[in-house]
Protein backbone atom coordinates (compact mmCIF):
# COMPACT_ATOMS: atom_id res chain seq x y z
CA UNK A 1 0.00 0.00 0.00
CA UNK A 2 1.09 3.51 -0.69
CA UNK A 3 1.98 5.77 2.22
CA UNK A 4 2.72 9.47 2.48
CA UNK A 5 4.80 10.93 5.30
CA UNK A 6 5.00 14.54 6.38
CA UNK A 7 7.54 14.79 9.17
CA UNK A 8 6.87 18.41 10.14
CA UNK A 9 3.62 18.78 12.13
CA UNK A 10 4.11 22.55 12.36
CA UNK A 11 6.21 25.16 10.60
CA UNK A 12 6.40 28.93 10.80
CA UNK A 13 7.78 31.55 8.46
CA UNK A 14 8.18 35.28 8.49
CA UNK A 15 6.12 37.21 6.01
CA UNK A 16 7.99 37.65 2.70
CA UNK A 17 10.41 34.83 3.54
CA UNK A 18 10.68 31.37 2.01
CA UNK A 19 9.67 28.10 3.63
CA UNK A 20 9.97 24.48 2.52
CA UNK A 21 7.56 21.75 3.57
CA UNK A 22 8.78 18.16 3.37
CA UNK A 23 7.02 15.08 2.07
CA UNK A 24 8.16 11.55 1.36
CA UNK A 25 6.14 8.69 -0.01
CA UNK A 26 6.38 5.00 -0.58
CA UNK A 27 5.09 3.22 -3.66
CA UNK A 28 6.01 0.43 -6.00
CA UNK A 29 4.23 2.12 -8.91
CA UNK A 30 6.18 3.93 -11.61
CA UNK A 31 3.41 6.25 -12.74
CA UNK A 32 1.49 8.40 -10.30
CA UNK A 33 0.57 11.94 -9.35
CA UNK A 34 1.67 13.95 -6.36
CA UNK A 35 -0.17 16.93 -4.97
CA UNK A 36 0.01 19.60 -2.35
CA UNK A 37 -3.34 20.73 -0.98
CA UNK A 38 -3.97 23.67 1.29
CA UNK A 39 -6.75 23.62 3.88
CA UNK A 40 -7.50 26.97 5.54
CA UNK A 41 -9.85 27.22 8.54
CA UNK A 42 -12.77 27.31 6.10
CA UNK A 43 -12.13 23.54 5.62
CA UNK A 44 -12.09 23.87 1.82
CA UNK A 45 -9.37 21.74 0.25
CA UNK A 46 -7.52 23.85 -2.30
CA UNK A 47 -5.12 22.38 -4.83
CA UNK A 48 -1.79 24.20 -4.63
CA UNK A 49 0.31 22.26 -7.12
CA UNK A 50 0.45 18.97 -8.99
CA UNK A 51 3.36 16.88 -10.25
CA UNK A 52 3.20 13.99 -12.71
CA UNK A 53 5.76 11.32 -11.87
CA UNK A 54 6.80 10.87 -15.49
CA UNK A 55 7.84 14.51 -15.74
CA UNK A 56 11.37 15.30 -14.66
CA UNK A 57 10.75 19.03 -14.58
CA UNK A 58 9.61 20.35 -11.23
CA UNK A 59 6.17 21.93 -11.22
CA UNK A 60 5.79 25.61 -10.39
CA UNK A 61 2.73 27.76 -9.76
CA UNK A 62 3.56 31.40 -9.12
CA UNK A 63 5.12 31.51 -5.62
CA UNK A 64 4.82 27.76 -5.15
CA UNK A 65 7.30 25.24 -6.49
CA UNK A 66 8.21 21.65 -5.76
CA UNK A 67 11.43 19.68 -5.56
CA UNK A 68 10.51 16.26 -6.92
CA UNK A 69 13.14 13.58 -6.38
CA UNK A 70 11.64 10.40 -7.82
CA UNK A 71 14.46 8.07 -6.88
CA UNK A 72 14.42 9.33 -3.30
CA UNK A 73 10.59 9.41 -3.28
CA UNK A 74 10.68 12.94 -2.00
CA UNK A 75 8.29 15.78 -2.89
CA UNK A 76 8.88 19.04 -1.02
CA UNK A 77 6.94 22.27 -1.43
CA UNK A 78 8.66 25.64 -1.45
CA UNK A 79 6.64 28.75 -0.77
CA UNK A 80 8.42 31.97 -1.73
CA UNK A 81 7.55 35.48 -0.57
CA UNK A 82 5.21 34.06 2.08
CA UNK A 83 1.98 35.92 2.66
CA UNK A 84 -0.40 35.97 5.62
CA UNK A 85 -2.96 34.19 3.48
CA UNK A 86 -0.63 31.21 3.12
CA UNK A 87 -1.29 30.24 6.73
CA UNK A 88 -3.12 26.91 6.63
CA UNK A 89 -2.75 23.15 6.90
CA UNK A 90 -0.82 21.73 3.97
CA UNK A 91 -1.35 18.14 2.92
CA UNK A 92 0.88 16.16 0.62
CA UNK A 93 -1.07 13.56 -1.36
CA UNK A 94 -0.40 10.67 -3.71
CA UNK A 95 -2.59 9.21 -6.40
CA UNK A 96 -1.69 6.26 -8.55
CA UNK A 97 -2.52 6.25 -12.22
CA UNK A 98 -5.03 3.60 -13.19
CA UNK A 99 -7.89 3.10 -15.58
CA UNK A 100 -10.77 4.91 -14.03
CA UNK A 101 -10.50 6.97 -10.90
CA UNK A 102 -8.39 6.28 -7.87
CA UNK A 103 -8.55 8.06 -4.51
CA UNK A 104 -5.89 10.20 -2.90
CA UNK A 105 -3.66 9.03 -0.08
CA UNK A 106 -2.83 11.88 2.26
CA UNK A 107 0.00 12.64 4.63
CA UNK A 108 -0.78 13.83 8.15
CA UNK A 109 -0.34 17.46 7.24
CA UNK A 110 1.86 20.39 8.21
CA UNK A 111 0.37 23.43 9.89
CA UNK A 112 2.01 26.55 8.51
CA UNK A 113 1.95 29.80 10.44
CA UNK A 114 2.98 33.07 8.84
CA UNK A 115 4.35 35.74 11.15
CA UNK A 116 3.78 39.36 10.26
Amino acid sequence: AQTVTQSQPEMSVQEAETVTLSCTYDTSESDYYLFWYKQPPSRQMILVIRQEAYKQQNATENRFSVNFQKAAKSFSLKISDSQLGDAAMYFCAYRRVASGNTPLVFGKGTRLSVIA
Binding site: M45, V105, K108
Partner: protein, 115 residues
Protein backbone atom coordinates in the same frame (compact mmCIF):
# COMPACT_ATOMS: atom_id res chain seq x y z
CA UNK B 1 -12.82 21.65 -13.08
CA UNK B 2 -15.74 20.39 -11.04
CA UNK B 3 -17.86 22.31 -8.58
CA UNK B 4 -19.26 20.32 -5.67
CA UNK B 5 -22.04 21.54 -3.42
CA UNK B 6 -21.99 19.73 -0.08
CA UNK B 7 -24.72 20.06 2.52
CA UNK B 8 -25.03 20.63 5.41
CA UNK B 9 -21.90 22.61 6.17
CA UNK B 10 -22.19 21.77 9.84
CA UNK B 11 -24.52 20.06 12.25
CA UNK B 12 -24.79 19.15 15.89
CA UNK B 13 -26.49 15.81 16.48
CA UNK B 14 -27.56 13.78 19.46
CA UNK B 15 -25.86 10.45 20.02
CA UNK B 16 -27.82 7.55 18.62
CA UNK B 17 -29.27 9.56 15.74
CA UNK B 18 -28.08 9.71 12.12
CA UNK B 19 -26.90 12.44 9.78
CA UNK B 20 -27.14 12.34 6.00
CA UNK B 21 -24.69 14.42 4.00
CA UNK B 22 -25.37 15.32 0.39
CA UNK B 23 -22.98 16.09 -2.44
CA UNK B 24 -24.10 17.50 -5.78
CA UNK B 25 -21.59 17.82 -8.63
CA UNK B 26 -22.03 20.17 -11.58
CA UNK B 27 -20.93 17.50 -14.06
CA UNK B 28 -21.28 13.76 -14.49
CA UNK B 29 -18.59 11.74 -12.75
CA UNK B 30 -18.08 8.01 -12.53
CA UNK B 31 -16.80 7.78 -8.99
CA UNK B 32 -17.24 9.86 -5.89
CA UNK B 33 -15.05 9.50 -2.85
CA UNK B 34 -16.03 10.08 0.76
CA UNK B 35 -13.37 11.03 3.32
CA UNK B 36 -13.37 11.54 7.06
CA UNK B 37 -11.11 14.05 8.78
CA UNK B 38 -11.00 13.59 12.52
CA UNK B 39 -10.06 16.62 14.64
CA UNK B 40 -6.51 17.69 13.90
CA UNK B 41 -5.95 14.72 11.62
CA UNK B 42 -5.53 13.99 7.96
CA UNK B 43 -8.15 12.75 5.52
CA UNK B 44 -9.00 9.06 5.54
CA UNK B 45 -10.95 7.42 2.75
CA UNK B 46 -14.24 5.93 3.89
CA UNK B 47 -15.56 4.54 0.62
CA UNK B 48 -15.76 4.90 -3.12
CA UNK B 49 -19.23 5.36 -4.58
CA UNK B 50 -19.93 4.11 -8.09
CA UNK B 51 -23.17 4.88 -9.83
CA UNK B 52 -25.29 1.76 -10.20
CA UNK B 53 -23.31 -0.47 -7.87
CA UNK B 54 -22.58 -0.93 -4.19
CA UNK B 55 -20.02 1.37 -2.66
CA UNK B 56 -16.59 -0.04 -1.90
CA UNK B 57 -15.58 0.47 1.71
CA UNK B 58 -12.09 0.80 3.13
CA UNK B 59 -10.85 -1.30 6.01
CA UNK B 60 -12.42 -0.13 9.25
CA UNK B 61 -15.55 1.28 7.63
CA UNK B 62 -18.74 -0.73 7.20
CA UNK B 63 -21.93 -0.21 5.24
CA UNK B 64 -24.19 -0.45 8.29
CA UNK B 65 -22.44 2.50 9.89
CA UNK B 66 -21.81 4.55 6.72
CA UNK B 67 -24.48 3.70 4.11
CA UNK B 68 -23.94 5.47 0.80
CA UNK B 69 -26.33 6.12 -2.02
CA UNK B 70 -25.38 7.01 -5.58
CA UNK B 71 -28.61 7.33 -7.57
CA UNK B 72 -27.08 9.12 -10.58
CA UNK B 73 -23.82 10.46 -11.98
CA UNK B 74 -24.04 13.85 -10.25
CA UNK B 75 -25.25 13.06 -6.74
CA UNK B 76 -24.35 11.01 -3.69
CA UNK B 77 -25.22 10.84 -0.02
CA UNK B 78 -23.31 9.54 2.96
CA UNK B 79 -25.20 8.68 6.13
CA UNK B 80 -23.40 8.39 9.44
CA UNK B 81 -25.60 6.15 11.57
CA UNK B 82 -26.03 5.52 15.28
CA UNK B 83 -23.88 8.50 16.12
CA UNK B 84 -21.41 8.56 18.96
CA UNK B 85 -19.01 11.34 20.03
CA UNK B 86 -16.21 9.48 18.21
CA UNK B 87 -17.99 10.29 14.93
CA UNK B 88 -17.38 14.00 15.46
CA UNK B 89 -15.33 14.86 12.38
CA UNK B 90 -15.31 16.70 9.10
CA UNK B 91 -16.69 14.66 6.24
CA UNK B 92 -15.75 15.54 2.66
CA UNK B 93 -16.78 14.29 -0.72
CA UNK B 94 -14.44 14.40 -3.68
CA UNK B 95 -14.41 13.76 -7.42
CA UNK B 96 -11.72 13.84 -10.08
CA UNK B 97 -11.79 15.78 -13.30
CA UNK B 98 -12.80 14.01 -16.48
CA UNK B 99 -11.49 12.67 -18.68
CA UNK B 100 -7.89 12.93 -17.52
CA UNK B 101 -8.53 12.24 -13.83
CA UNK B 102 -5.48 14.28 -12.95
CA UNK B 103 -6.95 16.43 -10.19
CA UNK B 104 -9.30 15.93 -7.26
CA UNK B 105 -11.94 18.44 -6.26
CA UNK B 106 -13.60 18.61 -2.89
CA UNK B 107 -16.86 19.71 -1.39
CA UNK B 108 -16.76 22.33 1.33
CA UNK B 109 -16.91 19.68 4.03
CA UNK B 110 -19.47 18.93 6.73
CA UNK B 111 -18.42 19.51 10.32
CA UNK B 112 -20.32 17.04 12.50
CA UNK B 113 -20.42 17.39 16.27
CA UNK B 114 -22.07 14.62 18.27
CA UNK B 115 -23.26 15.49 21.77
Amino acid sequence: SAVISQKPSRDICQRGTSLTIQCQVDSQVTMMFWYRQQPGQSLTLIATANQGSEATYESGFVIDKFPISRPNLTFSTLTVSNLSPEDSSIYLCSVTNRPMNTEAFFGQGTRLTVV
